[in-house]
Amino acid sequence: MILRFVLRRCALAVPSLIGLLVLTFVLIRVVPSDPAAAMAGDAATPEQIAQLRHEYGLDRPVWEQFFVYAGKAVRLDFGESAFSHRPVALDIAQRLPATLELTFAAMAISIFLGVPLGVFAALRHNQWPDFALRMVSVLGVAVAAFWVAIMLQLLFAMELGWLPLRGELSVSVPPPVRLSGFLLVDSLLTGRFDAFGDGLAHLVLPAVTLALGGMASIVRFTRAGVLDTLQQDFVTYERAMGYRRMRLIWRYVLRNSVTATITQIGLLFGGLIAGGVVVEAIYDWPGIGSYTVNAILTGDHQVMLAVTLLIGVVYAVVNILTDLVHGLVDPRLMDRS
């Protein structure tokens, strides 16, 4: 039943991915500068540009171009980066694990702090801890990530010297053998605990910076969900039947309260990958974000295109996962589909 549920959601995602392909295709074609000229660079001769135009099929009918484009996208063939002169797909594969590692860390922080704080705020409804948390979570949403990043760098890296300023690993520490591409995972797999500790220290500041906004909204949604659930008849019933308070709140109430929070976490994940751009740039994190900033600055169309599609796919996958988690948390949804 779960499998059918997932397959259905996957099928539903296909049209939106096709839509994304069409959209990006149109965007490339209406971008005013000539893509072939941009790829060839400033010093290229008209013949070289024509050659490139032919190579990329830019001289063929529009619909044919689209199918060529779509076919290449499906095969992950995005051509070469004008900047690194390596296949874009390879560059991305190399950098994606760093971004995912950062994103997962930020997610973990915002969930494991945000959910309990949200429950706590709901239980202290309209008392001072609730007001304080509401203030902080409004700030968390409002304050720009780059400001937080710089403040954290100033305090913890420059002033106190507790944590590294930027990067993924100290220059003095040789990187572990690359297996999964995830630095922390690889250093554990190869027994390089020095690299693990150093990598973890480097991860803290960027992950905390990235986590703040998401944590604030998780606190708000969890608080609202718990307050709503506490009004339900079954909570009165469970109290009347002597459920222990801790189990009542953290198991029976919480599972009913997280529907909106899960939706929010799903949205956040996509948002974190996109929003990580600023954080990665500030902390010089070797992921997709800093790569994209580079591509934008140098007008590297192929890279921008590939990253856009990547984010689209991430959103689609996260949507499917969100639906799946909803179904697992609330069996009524699974039955309805």
Binding site: D233, T236, Y237, E238, R239, A240, M241, G242, D330, P331
Partner: protein, 320 residues
């Protein structure tokens, strides 16, 4: 013999934005062992508040100001939250809620919920397997369809009547001495209502439990109960054996209730006027604004309950 439950002079008030609302003011009742006591009254008269006070689950805005609640010889009002959870709720007092559709937790299996109750309240030394066995046999006795795998299913996979049977099983799971039911059939259709009532009556006789049954249906009282307690605006106005109260009602309110619906299914729309607000109660008899027998004294002094020839205790100056 001491009664299973005795409530005396209970007063409960709610803190509201408009001031203190006195919701229960001098409620009293007695439930003897093995009997069924019906608590009757219009919507808003404080029936659910009375039950919550007994189980210690009043909302934060409510206070018990006076009175005592004695269950099997122990004053429940001096119990801490923890003691109530460990010794009373779900173990010695079972609860059957009003709305079976809303009272089961929708995202947990029925089994998790019923076993959660037994986990904390079943006799020490019994294992989870014992609990499952006990629940399955209860579900079979209560005619829940598919009793062997019912615990593995979710609440939404059962009908309203079936869910009420699950909740009755939960109430009986730890062999309580007292079961409290808050309008347990109001949310069900007439046929199902009837089945559930018959079942409850059988279980009372079969399992030697006492039942406190809240309803606004005098027909149900006549069919199910041994004694009855009529509440009006947070006060017990008449109580006694069912035959006495229903055949020869003494209080004008009880008379009005019976007069507007001599048969089943009382909706109370027949009595003129409305229940006074708990924020502004009349100083004298609370029924005075709607009473057909009002005397000058009624508006000034609150009558006290006296025993009548019929055997009922009645709070009224009228000799009726």
């Amino acid at each position: 013999m001491i009664p299973v439950l005795s409530v005396q002079g209970l007063k409960v008030s709610f803190r509201t934005d408009a001031g203190m609302a006195s919701v229960l003011d001098d409620v009293g009742l007695t439930l003897e062992r093995g009997q069924v006591l019906g608590v009757v009254g219009e919507s808003g008269c404080g029936k659910s508040t009375l039950i919550r006070a007994i189980m210690g689950i009043l909302p934060g805005a409510a206070r018990v100001n006076a009175g005592q609640i004695v269950f099997e010889g122990e004053n429940l009002l001096v119990f801490t939250e923890r003691e109530l959870n460990q010794q009373i709720r779900g173990s010695r007092i079972g609860f059957i809620p009003q709305d079976p559709l809303l009272s089961l937790n929708p995202v947990f299996k029925v089994g998790s919920q019923l076993l959660e109750i037994m986990r904390d309240h079943a006799p020490p030394g019994t294992s989870r397997a014992d609990h499952i066995q006990r629940l399955v046999s209860l579900l079979r006795r209560l005619q829940v369809p598919g009793p062997d795998n019912a615990l593995e299913r979710y609440p939404h996979q059962f009908s309203g009547g079936q869910r009420q049977r699950l909740l009755i099983a939960a109430a009986l799971a730890c062999s309580p001495g007292l079961v409290i039911a808050d309008e347990p059939t109001t949310a069900l259709d007439v046929t199902t209502q009837h089945e559930i009532l018959l079942l409850l009556r059988e279980l009372v006789d079969e399992l030697d439990i006492s039942l406190l049954f809240v309803t606004h249906d005098l027909g149900v009282v006549a069919a199910l109960c041994d004694t009855v307690c009529v509440i009006y605006a947070g006060q017990t106005v008449e109580s006694g054996p069912v035959e006495a109260v229903l055949r020869a009602p003494s209080h004008p309110y009880t008379q009005a209730l019976l007069a507007c619906h001599p048969e089943r299914s009382v909706s109370f729309t027949g009595i003129g006027g409305t229940v006074p607000s708990p924020l502004r109660m009349p100083t004298g008899c609370r029924f005075a604004p709607r009473c057909g027998y009002t005397e000058p004294i009624c508006a000034v002094a609150l009558p006290i309950a006296t025993r009548r020839k019929s055997g009922a205790d009645v709070r009224c100056v009228h000799s009726g």
